[in-house]
């Protein structure tokens, strides 16, 4: 580092602190927002990505797990294995029937209905007089799944019974427990029924709502799906060696949509994140502008303040390129210090914040840290570029004036 850059930078401690602080704040904000985005992305798409379902069948237009609009025909009287019988029998239209020939059932190992509905849940406490007291309200991603195949069921049990839930039993996501204090043995009210919490599962946190798992029959009964002969999705596990995407692409039933796991997960992420992303982008831009402004202003004022000294250097034979380098080095070191402090703050404060606010789900990837480093470098570069014209216009002759 040039001695002029080093001395100028560290001789003005207050200015350095302001400059580093501004960049650190920007880095912190950018880092946190990126980590928050990644955290949400992980959470929101994680359940589908990690599930044992290869292909999801939904109504056309309903392309993700959070889509409550999907309603497919399902007649429980025809048995729980619906692939051949249910889908084809339900699609009574002769045209549909002929189209349904393009449903390659021979590649399917298992196929089951899956009922999914977003709803409000209540944590209640029975008072001594027998009255219920509402302790908490929560958003639930209510899932009714087939216990036999476990298709679309809990990813893993982290606490409580490993048995599949029976009537009036529910397995809740651990995030629900963390956020609302729901414990094994508690009672939840949802869909007009009381559910006894028998276990906690992991991996079903959608940030805005958490999954609760009940049996397929109980869900259909609670939501009136049996009477309506409907289900939300059909979930399919394919035979070994069958390509899920090719299978999904091969399904051609009018009004029905088939998506492989990764596409379905991606759509699920998009539903949440596509709304968040523009807001996030604006805040990221603002954070970048804040960092750039603070760094730019402090570097510029430092340059203006030292313009006589830069004039002296020009007079005694230093080129403009030396002066540019001196300013750039000051800017880069400021940026580096701001980056280290900002990232450090993020790594320290992030977990604390996540404990206090459960929705504050952060996941830091090294690629994102690298991206923040890149943004900081751009900040430092642009901040150094601002005083370039000023440096170029310094007249060394002026130093002869006392």
């Amino acid at each position: 580092m040039l001695i002029v850059a080093r001395k100028n930078l560290f001789s003005e401690r207050t200015r350095l602190a302001i400059s580093v602080g501004g960049i650190a704040l920007a880095v912190f904000l950018i880092g946190v927002l990126l980590s928050l985005y990644r955290g949400w992305e992980n959470k929101v798409g994680g359940f589908v990505e990690d599930s044992n379902v290869d292909v999801w069948i939904a109504n056309e237009g309903a392309k993700d797990f959070l889509a409550a609009a999907s309603l497919l025909p399902y007649d429980p009287s025809l048995g729980v294995d619906p692939c051949q019988q249910q889908i084809q029998a339900a699609l009574q239209d002769p045209n549909r029937r002929s189209q349904a020939q393009k449903f390659p059932v021979q590649d399917i190992r298992e196929c089951r209905p899956l009922i999914v509905r977003q709803m409000e849940g209540l944590k209640v406490e029975i008072q001594s007089g027998g009255e219920e007291k509402i302790l908490k309200k929560m958003n639930l991603q209510f899932v009714g799944y087939d216990a036999g195949t476990q298709l679309g069921g809990p990813l893993r049990i982290v606490e409580g019974s490993t048995d599949a839930p029976k009537d009036n039993e529910v397995v809740v996501d651990e995030a629900l427990g963390k956020r609302y204090g729901v414990q094994v043995g508690d009672t939840l009210k949802a869909g007009g029924r009381d559910w006894n919490v028998i276990a906690k599962s992991g991996g079903g946190d959608f940030v805005a709502a958490q999954t609760v798992f009940v049996s397929l029959d109980a869900a259909a009964d609670a939501l009136g799906f049996n009477d309506a002969k409907k289900t939300t999705f059909y979930v399919i596990r394919l035979k070994d060696g069958i390509d899920a995407k090719a299978f999904a692409d091969g399904v051609d039933i009018p009004g029905v949509h088939a998506l492989d796991r990764s596409a379905f997960a991606s759509n699920t992420k998009d539903r949440i994140l596509s709304n968040v992303l523009p807001i996030l982008a604006v805040v990221l831009l603002l954070a970048f502008i804040v960092g750039l402004s603070v760094a730019g202003l402090t570097i510029y004022t430092a340059t203006v303040e030292k313009s006589r000294e830069y004039g002296i250097l020009k007079a005694v034979g230093f080129r403009n390129s030396y002066l540019y380098r001196a300013v750039l080095e000051q800017s880069i070191v400021t940026g580096f210090l701001g980056f280290v402090i900002g990232i450090g703050l993020m790594l320290i404060i992030g977990p604390f914040a996540a404990d206090v606010v459960p929705q504050f789900v952060i996941f830091t990837r090294w690629q994102d840290v690298l991206a923040v480093a890149g943004a900081t470098l751009v900040m430092a570069g642009v901040a150094a570029y601002i005083p370039v014209r000023r440096l170029a216009s310094i007249d060394p002759v002026a130093v002869f004036k006392a």
């Binding site: 002029v4 001395k7 250097l313 007079a315 005694v316 080129r319 002759v397 002869f400």
Partner: protein, 279 residues
Amino acid sequence: MTQNGRVILGMQGVTKIYGSGDAATRALDNINFDARAGEVVVIMGPSGAGKTTFLTIAGALLRPTSGTVTVSGLNITEMGEKNLPEVRRDRIGFIFQSFNLLDSLTSLENVTLVMTPDRSRGKAGVNRARELLDMLGLSHRVKSLPKNLSGGEKQRVAIGRALANNPDLILADEPTANLDSKRGREVMLLLRQIAYEMDKSVVIVSHDHRIREVASRIVWLEDGTFRSDVETARDPVCNRVIEVVGAPQTEHIGVLFYFCGEQCQRIFAENPTKFAEAG
């Protein structure tokens, strides 16, 4: 005593005009000037005479409108703009009225900073800077910041910086203006010493008449032209600065000595070795 060294700074027919048309101002008007190694040339004149213009042109900071300027034989008026910083750094040392040290750098750093890469490589630069500061009586001030130095000390650090790259030409702009008489005299003597002992050409622009004391020549600049170019010398007996032209002179071991009058010349003749050494 006079020096007849090689020409370090040469100006031939140099004119500098600021502005154009009716607003044109002729700051220097067809001047010819030489400064040789081993001599101290003092340029004096009233405000607005063109002294700073002269200095900045000599220092490769400003281009003349016409004419030729050479520094150590190098025609700098023919050089491109991008090559001039190198000339300033390698061949010219600058001393300013207000010292112009970098506030955040120590004395040692102020001197080493300007050294060319070949001079500052490794510890060579630091060693040379230490030697220079030692020579200037500042060995105890090497780690001091300018704010902790007296005016005289600051100017001596500035002189050290000017000498850092061992240039042939030292340009000094009012070097004693911000110093009291004692410190000013110290600096003047130092500049003379540099010229004589280090064989530099020292060109001083000054209003300070006391500086005539160290001058080999005094040049009077007025309205952009030289009105007189007076070669001076110091009488080795009475120590007065005198004009060479018309003064009694004596040659001793190949060097010409000038005297204010015949009496001093006689005293010198009685013991020339004693006065020659003192001079």
